[in-house]
């Protein structure tokens, strides 16, 4: 089988698998978030936490619950790392430094999974399982909860209630993430992923670190988290031993963001509304895959930073999917990609993580972009824009704009300051344009909660630890608050009847408008910066 054919077969298998689960899984998730019954496990959780699962919240309370939950998540994870020597399975890896512990705590709570630490030498298995794995579950569930709250904003009328955050988050964990992760952790074990509580194994006389990888791997991909239990992430043979485990991992990181478009269509009572979002996501994903694949196949050193068992196509497929979702796991080193290939991965992130984006975050991000697109269309024809039967007035458009602008603001300020700081030069692994790309990629990855890196850059200085943590937090929570505010304001409206003047949002015109908005907003915001980094590299 030639490399190209093998690559196409893998892409075909991936798409076929996603197509098979799309309807049942999307509908299942819709039922999860609309069911009025609580399972036994959920009742125990609500009782222990003393929350009333049958009372609904206004958007402000919903947002405070997200913030409160995330705040204690950061504090708990920080303390866990600082007190690591007191925990079992620590292997004398010691306490994690304050800057690193803070960065890591923010990173995992915000679903970014940016890793400034080397897992094999810094973290023991207890912090990995009791700290990081837990956040892999709950940070993903938070993203899904916020997305569902926004969808309710469209689906509901004349109410100030968006649902109950604790119920939405708990159900996301108990009914969606946990069962799917368990099944696929088992599948990954069968595919050869290791599951060991030891610290290392001796291979031909050399010590190689080992870890309970399978359980973490499944939720790391499924929750679009991306934080590897090993430094090389999904390039490590213990995390990703062969082509099949590789395909399963790519499937896992795409399955929820893709299927949520079906959930959305079901919840708003018109499935075509979901299909049109999926088509925009799919076209941009396929386009970027073509670019990255072609670029990597025509590189100067195409195999640098890639694993032989994957080869170029499966590395490009993984890279495109991990950056198009906000996962950030890698099976090859993006820093060693070509100017165009690495720039393509960066552009995926700069689209704002909505092709198809992270779990939940992808859906709410593209819905916010749809609001912007309809606003632009409304400006063109001089009509108050509507979307899904809701008027998009000043309050809605302002909330959408704040949500969209938060990321570029923190990204460009952060990267701009980093670029002129005297210490930055020494932190880079490559000279010239590619060095600037390393800085840009770092701040793009943090601000968009992706977590992958041009990993040659050394980010352990206080400046990088702190500034990237701030980017991750603002890039996560400013959009979340804005999205919930938008949801609250939409839910309060009555439904506007469709008229002859209503722009239909299920056809190719809307799809083009939406896709164009995604590309244009990213291009207008980032072309000047990209021109000095990856674009210059690609032209050299």
């Amino acid at each position: 089988m030639s490399s190209t054919v093998a690559g196409l077969v893998q892409v075909g298998l991936l798409i076929a698998a996603l197509a098979v689960v799309y309807r049942p899984f999307g509908d299942y998730m819709a039922r999860v978030y609309t069911s009025t019954r609580h399972t036994k496990v959920e009742r125990v959780i609500y009782r222990t936490a003393r929350v009333d699962p049958d009372s609904e919240q206004r958007w402000g309370t919903y947002a405070l619950a997200v913030l409160g939950f995330s705040f204690v998540g950061v504090a708990f994870l920080y303390l866990l790392q600082r007190f690591q020597p007191l925990l079992p399975f620590d292997f004398d890896r010691g306490t994690v430094s304050p800057g690193m512990a803070f960065n890591t705590a923010v990173s995992f709570v915000t679903n970014t999974n940016w890793q400034s630490y080397v897992p094999e030498t810094v973290l023991g298995h207890t912090v990995q399982m009791v700290g990081l794995t837990v956040q892999n579950f709950v940070s993903a569930a938070v993203g899904m909860a916020v997305a569902v709250a926004l969808v309710r904003g469209f689906a509901r009328h004349r109410t100030d209630r968006l649902g109950n955050f604790w119920v939405d988050m708990t159900r996301g964990v108990v009914r969606i993430l946990l069962p799917v992760a368990f099944v696929f952790a088992t599948v990954l074990v069968a595919a050869g992923v290791v599951m060991s509580l030891k610290s290392g194994v001796t291979v031909d006389g050399q010590q190689v670190a080992i870890a309970p990888a399978a359980s973490q791997e499944a939720i790391k991909e499924l929750g679009t988290n991306g934080g590897g239990i090993f430094n090389a992430n999904s390039a490590h043979p213990f995390e990703n031993p062969n082509s099949w485990s590789n395909l399963i991992e790519i499937f896992l990181l795409l399955v929820i963001p893709v299927s949520l478009t079906r959930t959305f269509g079901t919840l708003v009572g018109n499935r075509k509304q979901g299909y049109v979002l999926l088509s925009v996501m799919g076209v941009l994903w396929a386009l970027m895959l073509t670019v990255i694949w072609w670029a990597e196949a025509n590189g100067i050193r195409p195999l640098e930073g890639k694993e032989m068992r994957f080869g170029i196509p499966a590395s490009a497929l993984f890279a495109n999917s991990t950056t198009g979702t906000s996962t950030g796991a890698v099976n090859s080193m993006h820093d060693s990609f070509t100017g165009l290939g690495g720039g393509g991965a960066m552009l995926n992130i700069l689209f704002g993580e909505m092709t198809p984006g992270g779990v939940g975050t992808g859906l709410y991000s593209i819905l916010v972009m749809a609001v912007i697109a309809m606003f632009l269309a409304g400006l063109m024809v001089g009509r108050t824009p509507e979307y899904l039967g809701k008027k998009l007035g000043k309050r809605e458009v302002t909330a959408a704009a704040v949500s969209i602008l938060a990321m570029p603001t923190v990204l460009l300020i952060g990267a701009g300051i980093a670029a002129i700081l005297p210490g930055t030069q020494g932190a880079l692994n490559n000279p010239g344009e590619h060095g600037l790309s390393e800085i840009l990629y770092a701040y793009a990855s943090a601000s968009n909660n992706n977590g992958s890196a041009f990993a040659g850059i050394t980010v352990t200085s206080d400046w990088f630890q702190a500034s990237l943590a701030v980017c991750m937090a603002l890039g996560r929570f400013v959009p979340i608050i804005a999205v919930l505010c938008l949801a609250g304001s939409l839910a309060e409206q009555k439904k506007v009847p469709e008229t002859a003047g209503t722009l239909p949002t299920t056809g190719p015109l809307f799809a083009t408008l939406l896709g164009g908005s995604i590309v244009l907003v990213a291009a207008l915001t980032f072309v000047p910066a990209l021109a000095l980094g990856p674009i210059a590299e690609a032209l050299l």
Binding site: V44, G68, D204, Q206, F230, I300, S437
Partner: protein
């Protein structure tokens, strides 16, 4: 502020319960499943051939270059326009060509580039073939025997690769 503290304290309680479920019970359940006989041949990776570490000496097949600092894994993260790294790659090519007694243009890409994990056990069939004459000479085995070992360690699926760790173990056994 009081509402925030109220939510945060509810959050702490929810977090603790979910920590028990997803941070302790879930990995424990997966670990238990991984012990089911027949599901995973080697979950503890005893004498694993999943990873490759280079052995010193001309009697062995060599892996690809590694940028890892064991026991940790990792790649070089060198960009393709990095001129200093061009030098490193050129030196590797010269060394390998001399070691195998061939011209430099016969040294394949994978032989001179570092893998992503630094633990890649695989090389291309071309790089394996390049090493056959030297290994045969140094071990006293016939080239045909060595080629048989290479063939046994070759897997073809979406990619055709040769597992160096496997061949070297077989060489050890053949001695």
């Amino acid at each position: 502020m009081t509402n925030f503290l109220k939510q945060a304290s509810a959050g702490l309680r929810v977090l603790l319960v979910l920590t028990v479920i997803t941070g302790i019970l879930y990995p424990a359940a997966v670990w238990t499943v991984s012990r089911i006989p027949g599901l995973h041949a080697n979950a503890e990776a005893v004498d694993t051939t999943l990873v490759g570490v280079d052995r010193e000496g001309d009697q062995w097949f060599h892996t690809r270059p590694s940028a890892a600092t064991l026991p940790a894994s990792g790649g070089s993260n060198k960009g393709e326009l990095n001129a200093d790294y061009d030098q490193v790659v050129a030196e590797r090519r010269t060394t390998i060509a001399q070691r195998e007694g061939v011209s430099e243009d016969r040294v394949p890409q994978d032989a001179v580039t570092a893998s992503a994990s630094g633990l890649d056990p695989h090389v291309s069939p071309a790089y394996a073939e390049l090493q056959v004459p030297r290994v045969a000479r140094e071990t006293g085995l016939s080239e045909q025997t060595v080629r048989q070992l290479v063939a046994a360690a070759t897997s073809s699926g979406f990619t055709e690769t040769v597992n160096v760790t496997e061949i070297n173990r077989a060489l050890e056994a053949a001695r």
